[in-house]
């Protein structure tokens, strides 16, 4: 084994590991369930590993991995047909461990709303709005035009607003801490 190969392997593994939390969050967003998401991530890791040679070092590994995971997700869905979405018990469990941390944001409601979006809209808003991809990168990952991604993101936003009943700024009051400061500032 050549030194260079060894070094490439190390870099590949390091970059793969660094991308995993983000990749996994994308999988949870797509499937709506932790158990299914982790199976999907596992399949993606194996695919990526087997196709190491086809990855061009120095290019965007994250985009490459997301593309593999996305393709895997849709091909599995086609094979199995869409199973009835069960509420993600595992997800509830994990998020109820620290209710104080998540209580204010009600992430359960958000997850449910996200689940109601059509797949193409959901992946678009997640890639651009949370996973940290530019519109162009998201378009490449989804194999569609940049304009298509933009309109999907925009439709996803409107639909989420409807679903969550977010009507305006009033839904997001200031943090209790901020309110206290405001009170102190104007109280005297």
């Amino acid at each position: 084994m050549k030194k260079q190969d060894e070094n490439d392997d190390r870099v590949f593994k390091r970059d793969l590991l660094a991308s995993l939390p983000n990749l996994r969050a994308f999988a949870v967003s797509l499937t709506g369930r932790h158990d299914k998401a982790d199976d999907l991530v596992q399949d993606t890791i194996m695919k990526a590993w087997a196709n190491q040679a086809s990855f061009t070092a120095g290019t965007n590994m994250r985009a490459w991995l997301f593309t593999i995971l996305r393709n895997e997700f849709y091909s599995q869905m086609r094979k199995r047909g869409r199973e009835v979405q069960d509420s993600d018990g595992l997800f509830s469990e994990r998020f109820s461990v620290h209710p104080e941390q998540y209580g204010r944001l009600d992430l359960q409601d958000f997850r449910k709303a996200l689940e109601k979006l059509p797949d193409d809209q959901r992946e678009a808003i997640v890639l651009v709005g949370a996973a940290g991809f530019a519109y162009e990168e998201a378009a490449a990952i989804c194999g569609c035009a940049v304009g298509t991604i933009k309109s999907r993101v925009s439709r996803a936003r409107s639909r989420l607003q409807e679903l969550l009943g977010v009507s305006g700024e009033g839904d997001f009051g200031p943090d209790p801490g901020d309110a206290a400061i405001t009170q102190r500032a104007f109280g005297s």
């Binding site: 939390p21 996994r24 590993w49 944001l105 709005g129 949370a130 936003r157 989420l160 997001f172």
Partner: protein, 70 residues
């Protein structure tokens, strides 16, 4: 992290031409909720099963290579 912040700002201010006056705050809060949701999953870290899997893949590759050399 600064890259992420840049994206966050982009998300809130992207293509203003598509946004009607007054619809900006709800969009911003949707974006924020989405990121909170996503970050909560990211912060769970990497489950051991994936670390184990990578170890096994790496080991299998090493074994295969040493066999090839012989």
């Amino acid at each position: 992290m600064s890259e992420e912040n840049r994206k966050k700002n982009e998300m809130n201010t992207a293509h203003p031409q598509e946004i009607k006056p007054g619809s900006m705050p709800p969009n911003a809060s949707i974006s924020r909720k989405l990121r909170e949701f996503y970050n909560a999953v990211q912060e769970e870290g990497i489950p051991d099963r994936f670390l184990d899997l990578l170890e096994r893949l790496e080991q299998a590759e090493k074994n295969a290579k040493s066999v090839n050399v012989k």
